[in-house]
Amino acid sequence: LHRGGLAERLCQLQNRERSAVSFWRHQCTSDVKIPSEKSGVLTVKILEMFEECTIQVAICQQLGQSPATLLSEDAVTSVEEPILKVLFARETAAHLKCRPHDVIHIYPPWQKLLLRNAGGPVIMNTYFSQKVLLSEHSQTREKPYGLIRKNIISLAQTFRLDDTDDGMCQESSGDQVGRDPQIHGKQDSKQHPLAQSAVNDSLLEMVESQGAVGWRETQVRVVIQRVYCLPMREGYRSHVQGTKPLCATPVTDSDPPNVRLCLLVQDAYGMFSEVQLKPLSSAEDAEQYCSRWEGKFCCLAGMKVLQRTTRGRALGLFSLIDSLWPPAVPVKFPGQSQDSATMTTDLSAPSFCYVLAADSAETQVEVDEEQQVSTLYQPPAVSSLKEILQINGCNERCSFWARVLYLRLQTKHSVPINQRETWLFVTDSTLQHEAHRTPKVLAVAVAASCVLSPEITGALGVASRFVFFKDALWGNGRIICVERTVLLLQKPLLCSAAGADLSELTGPVGLDELDSTTQTNSICAVRGTVVGVNESTAFSWPACDRCGNGKLELCPQDRGVLYCSQCSGVVSSPLLKMQLEVFLSCPSRSQSTVKVKCPGLFVLINLLLSLQSYEVQSVLGKEVGLLSCFVHAVSSHPDCVALEEIVLL
């Protein structure tokens, strides 16, 4: 060793210290009472211990000198007392055999180190320590000396890969010592509020590292692409009717929760996930969530993975995902550095998707409503109906703004009422003003799985409304509204109009005229000549002029007067209701027998009544103008068309 240098000095000091320590230890083992009230003695209670690089680190609480604090084993750790980190050399720790809840006296000379950036003070040079034995009994029921957790400093820490602290050339050379352990045991995580936990930006990484249940300690930041309601399948009351099981409670029921609010989210790597949130009793609030949440950033925590679904198993979900692919902005690629991002044109569409669900109380979904909409968000691309008809593919999601002309519920009796489809007949300016051979009106089938808010269903039945269809499905020449399609009464603020003519359609609309291309379940306009009346089905009856009740009775007192039981009153001037089937000869479809069922006093019946004659002969040959009709059936052999006169909204 270099003579006169620091090393030589340390050697000498070390030798002296070593003999002092062995003398101390000798004193401890022999029952010489060492006064503990001497000044400079530190009394601590151990809370937690672990080992790091051969040093035993004990997180302790400094105790006051009062014997009461020392003696009560079960004393609750008071918050005011300072927390210290006490370091013990390996030999000292072995000698003390300390473990949590032990109280230790630390005699001088000990040293205190105050670190620049870490927490509380660190106590070192603790060779002269003695454990305080609380009572005579404690010796006998001493718990076995358990293993102490070893804290391994990660390479990332050694090589300073995550932290942004100052470099090596700093004055306080002791800043590596006593740094808080980065690896938290299970018991620590419960004390850490979610706000402090790391925010991830990869869904895949979250699922793979956190597992299927309980994402503790970390949260993932995603962009909400779509908000919609799904009918809840669990908790359905199923009962069998004949051989057909009925399933799924009706989606428009108001009381029991039967729809679930769901989000389709996308992370910074372009990966999608469907998040199933809370049940709602009706879809009413969903529209609000839609406008407030779509496009915003959201932090998810405490989710559980319901399933990992693939393209083949969830066509509906993936048709929606495909409509959002490729991403609007370049996405990150795993393994790349943070700043660079890949161009997305070469990336193939996702083939799998995780479905996440709220995991009871642990779940947190925090939507950052204040922030601006993310650049990753892709609002629905609005097309005109004409453009949609020209789409080549199948199962393509499309969004459009159209006027609903007529609504019809499916009446097939074999299908239970809550599973029946609703048909909406829609049009827009591009179909109306088109000269070529495109239909003027399109039929949109709304499946039972498409959740409609009560507001929509109420509005649709009353008057002709413009409705925004978001993410409807186009395929096989039909537009259908299924799961994840949302119907809104207002155009969303953010939607990209891909050349669509969004001008409101005012004025009367034209229907396609009945011709050889007319199909079942469509609506058309009919003109022709009356060639016959089906007298066997002709029927007329009085109805109450107040409530419209068609089942009037004869008044018991006065048999000439009609009485309505529904509004409990005499009907003095009843309405006349009629039902009639009329055969027409239509020039546009001259070979067919056209049968028009008139279920009420609509245009045709009123026209016939205006002739002021009930003779069938006078009716024959009468010209009938454009009637709006619903096509029940079209058959070629025999060539006949069964229509029903309707009133447009």
Binding site: L1, H2, G5, L6, A7, E8, R9, L10, C11, L13, Q14, E17, C53, T54, I55, L87, A89, P109, Q111, L113, M124, N125, K150, I152, I153, L155, T158, F159, R160, G167, M168, C169, E171, S173, G174, Q176, V177
Partner: protein, 115 residues
């Protein structure tokens, strides 16, 4: 340097303390700077061998570092890294300016040796 500090060093760094202080006494640590501001440290080991220590993180090319620090997690650093810190603290660091190319060679040469 007060005795307390020396004993503190001994407590924390254990067996590395005395050898590191010896290296400081012998002025074995050189701080190498290049015109762009990049730095590295070189320490003459006890056997005369030259070891390179990084300034941005704890790294040393000596075998003890690879074993005790990286592999076994037994120590926080090796005696050379500690010597670098201590030399800085007491101002016993030698300074040397080299060209960019030379510094690059110093940093890369170690890889080639081990590779």
């Amino acid at each position: 340097v007060p005795d307390d500090l020396l004993l503190g060093l001994k407590f924390i760094f254990g067996p590395s303390a005395v050898p590191a202080l010896d290296l400081v006494d012998q002025r074995s640590v050189t701080r190498i700077v290049s015109p762009s501001g990049r730095t590295a440290y070189q320490v003459v080991g006890s056997s005369g061998k030259l070891y390179t220590c990084y300034s941005s993180c704890h790294f040393c090319t000596c075998p003890a570092y690879g074993f005790s620090v990286l592999q076994r997690s037994e120590s926080l650093l090796c005696k050379h890294i500690l010597a670098v810190y201590l030399s800085q603290a007491v101002g016993a660091c030698q300074e040397l300016t080299v060209s960019e190319e030379q510094l690059t060679n110093i940093l890369l040469a170690e890889d080639e040796e081990e590779g």
